[in-house]
């Protein structure tokens, strides 16, 4: 079920009403049933995969907790992690690696004829598999006690607000909340609704509008160059941010209405001053997952520089692969890993240059330079994330600035809105899209001082309601209501 669908508009209020009517002891059953239904609206048969995955997780975690011998315990954990990796690997990566192996075989004259499977990628498999793996490792590390009730564990994994695209919740943060009694709290419920509204604004008004421009260029990149790539890629940067953070806002807001607290997933990432900081602000639940379960076990930063660089690169290559079974995603991860290594190794030099140039005397200006340059690198890396193939990504990358100077020189005679900029859309559509992005940046600048929702809640009703009404009607009038799928659903 999509958050931006009429179906969810009926489903969610129904669940909320039933949830607060029911006595506390039955509420988790309602949430479990609602979550099963939420998932089964897509493909009912795929729920079996989750049920089996959670069954192994449940049995394994309880067994791990009982075993006293550390070697046996570790072996069991490894078996369970291999099981989950196999599950994810089979559905998500088998075809990719098989295809690569076929290519390699042809090159070396080997005989290899394993055909690809035609199974659909189960919705949210990357998310619920990672959540289950984190739970197992946390039980192994004795950070959480194993859940005794299989169905409650199932609810923790498939809780509908975070089921298909996260946040990837830790058991220590979410599981106990299913035991707590949540009373109807006006502030919490209304703030949750506001967050849902803001998420819908980001998704429908910004992401889905930007997608129209982006799709034109990225579906036929060889027909474009220069300024078209700049427009489409900058818009993609906002599309993917608003699409995914919009989803997270709706997820967190929906959970909040029901009384649950999900972890923050985005913290104004495009205001990061370095790639390292970007990853502290972007998809936080995933980056902390990789930090806790890959990067730190590899040695983290308490090692020599070459080993640390290796740890970073491995972590980001895996992160890239997690996003999709394609070389484009692996390259995207590698770019981010490399940039973090470069950032660290050049830190002293960059500081010296800033002092020599006198930029460090103007910290605000210096910060803006850092923000803009980080945004530039992140945006360039999105080319690889969005392109259909490495060939197309390279074409876009190598033609990114072709003719840019000519475009700007020609503005006085040709005007700003040339066909290369409008990409077949009207100037009005262009202005609305960038206007909405400007509004987003304005709101995020305001958020530097604290939560805008809390800021608004403190204002009298005659001041805040007109703002809510305007945002509501902006969503209705400016939103793209095509029930477009969220980008991260395919990960």
């Amino acid at each position: 079920m999509l958050f931006n669908s009429l179906h969810y508009l009926i489903f969610f209020p129904s669940v909320v009403v039933a949830y607060f009517i029911l006595p506390h002891k039955y509420r988790w059953i309602l949430l479990l049933s609602a979550s099963l239904y939420f998932y089964m609206v897509w493909r009912p048969e795929y729920i079996i995969l989750i049920i089996i995955s959670v069954l192994f997780t449940y049995l394994g975690a309880n067994k791990i907790a009982k075993i006293t011998d550390s070697i046996t315990k570790k072996r069991l954990l490894v078996i369970l992690l291999v099981f989950h990796t196999f599950l994810l690997g089979f559905f998500k990566y088998f075809n990719f690696f098989n295809k690569e192996f076929v290519t390699l075989s042809e090159k070396f004259g080997w005989s290899h004829s394993l055909s690809n499977h035609k199974l659909l990628l189960p919705l949210g498999i990357s998310f619920y598999t990672f959540q289950a793996m984190a739970y197992l490792i946390d039980v192994y590390r004795k950070k959480v006690k194993p859940e005794k009730n299989y169905f409650r564990l199932l609810l923790y994994i498939i809780f509908f607000p975070q089921l298909v695209a996260g946040p990837i919740e830790r058991a220590s943060h979410l599981l106990h909340q299913f035991y707590e009694k949540h009373l109807f709290d006006y502030e919490r419920v209304t703030n949750g609704i506001k967050l849902i509204g803001w998420g819908l604004f980001k998704k429908l008004v910004i992401a889905d509008r930007a997608a129209i421009f982006v799709n034109v260029v990225y579906s036929e990149p060889t027909e474009y160059m220069g300024i078209s790539f700049v427009v489409a890629t900058v818009l993609f940067a906002f599309q993917i941010y608003c699409d995914f953070s919009g989803y997270s806002d709706i997820a967190i807001g929906s959970a909040q209405v029901l009384g649950f607290n999900l972890m923050e997933n985005f913290r104004r990432p495009y205001f990061a001053k370095s790639i390292g900081e970007f990853w502290n602000r972007w998809h936080i639940s995933l980056s902390t997952w990789f930090r806790d379960y890959i990067y730190i076990p590899l040695g983290g930063n308490r090692v020599a520089l070459p080993r640390w660089s290796y740890n970073i690169l491995i972590t980001f290559l895996l992160s890239g692969l997690w996003h999709g079974a394609a070389w484009t995603f692996i390259i995207w991860g590698a770019i981010h890993g490399l940039m973090i290594v470069i950032e660290k190794t050049t830190k002293k030099w960059r500081r010296k240059i800033a002092i020599i140039l006198g930029v460090s005397k103007f910290p605000t200006f210096h910060s803006y330079i850092q923000i803009v340059s980080t945004f530039f690198i992140v945006t360039i890396s999105w080319i690889f994330f969005r392109a259909e193939s490495t060939k197309e990504a390279w074409y876009i990358f190598s033609h990114f600035f072709t003719g840019i100077v000519n475009y700007f020189v020609a503005i006085p005679s040709s005007g700003f809105f040339t066909p290369e900029v409008l990409l077949g859309q009207s100037p009005q559509r262009f202005i609305i899209t960038f206007g909405a992005i400007a509004f987003l940046i304005f709101v995020q600048l305001m958020q530097r001082k604290g939560s805008i929702i809390k800021f608004l809640s403190a204002k009298p009703i005659y001041m805040r309601w007109p703002i809510y009404v305007i945002i509501l009607w902006s969503i209705i009038f400016l939103g793209q209501f095509g029930e477009n799928q969220f980008i991260y659903f395919v990960f």
């Binding site: 009429l6 607060f20 109807f184 006006y186 419920v189 209304t190 009005q428 609305i432 309601w465 809510y468 009404v469 509501l472 009607w473 209705i476 009038f477 400016l478 209501f481």
Partner: protein, 302 residues
């Protein structure tokens, strides 16, 4: 919880008020003549007697477009209402016909410019866009609901009103006197057009589904004492696939049908291979429609 419900009700009421005002405003901001809008509801009058009601898809729409409505009225010397809509099959057209009579209107004659293609695909009968350029009238909405119009069409009808497109698009169109003229007939263009008109091929099950609506249109005409005439419009496409089947169906109800498919073959009277241009409309009205509306016979030789 009480505070939440009170605030919720007030907030929803404010927004319903805004929505109602907006709908009222956009429904009444402009007045339209038949040749100024592609919307059928905007031009359906109330408690009015007219001489002829024209219905159909784009083949009927050309009798209203580009100032043709006034030309046709002048040639026929009759008051005409044209409720046609581009790409509209028998399902939406039946709805407009019913709405016309429910509004206290009457007509002596109904001219349904019909083509077999509309009976062979849901695209022409159940697509979401049918009501997109129609104003939101509560009585029409309920009528559509009662008639069993597809839920997606109705949801889209509501949703389409709250869009920038609807808020900015409804200005009366200027009479576009420019008329295109076809130079020559192209077999490739004909084939392309036929492929477009029959996206699902010729499925008899689909035909049977929509032929029920044909009977209902005939019943509505009878119930309102209006003489119903079907015509196959002139076209350069040749005999339309399924025309024999449709002719058989119309004959079953003993309704008046005239086939003008191959009557006008001069390409210069067409704007494309399937639609007459203004000169073609004038010629056809003068040479054929005048005769049709001055005779009661079901067999007229032209």
């Amino acid at each position: 919880m009480k505070k939440f419900f009170i605030h919720g009700i007030i907030f929803i009421s404010i927004n319903i008020f805004i929505a109602t005002f907006y709908i009222w405003f956009t429904n009444n901001q402009y007045t339209y003549s038949n040749s100024q809008t592609g919307s059928a509801l905007f031009i359906i009058p109330k408690n009015t007697k007219v001489d002829i009601l024209i219905m159909g898809s784009s083949h009927a729409g050309i009798f209203a477009d580009a100032g043709n409505h006034e030309r046709v009225e002048k040639i026929l010397n009759k008051k005409v209402v044209n409720v046609s809509k581009a790409a509209a099959g028998i399902v939406p057209e039946k709805l407009f016909l019913e709405y016309f009579f429910r509004h206290g209107n009457s007509t002596k004659e109904i001219l349904y410019i019909i083509e077999p293609a509309i009976f062979y695909s849901s695209v022409w009968n159940e697509s979401n866009f049918f009501l997109e350029n129609e104003p939101l009238y509560a009585d029409f909405f309920w009528l559509s609901l009662r008639e069993g119009i597809d839920n997606d069409v109705l949801v889209n009808y509501l949703k389409s009103k709250f869009s920038l497109f609807w808020a900015t698009w409804r200005k009366p169109l200027k009479n576009n006197i420019e008329t295109y003229s076809l130079d020559a007939v192209s077999n490739e263009a004909i084939q392309k057009r036929l492929n477009f008109l029959y996206p699902d091929g010729q499925n008899e099950i689909v035909f049977d589904k929509y032929k029920v609506k044909l009977a209902e249109v005939i019943d509505i005409a009878k119930a309102n004492n209006a003489k119903l005439t079907f015509i196959y419009p002139p076209t350069l496409l040749g005999d339309a696939p399924g025309s024999e089947r449709l002719t058989q169906e119309i004959s079953y109800y003993e309704a008046r049908l005239f086939d003008f498919t191959n009557e006008i073959i001069d390409p210069s009277l067409y704007s494309d291979h399937d639609h007459l241009n203004t000169a073609g409309v004038v010629r056809f009205t003068t040479d054929y429609l005048v005769t049709i509306f001055s005779s009661n016979s079901s067999t007229i030789s032209f």
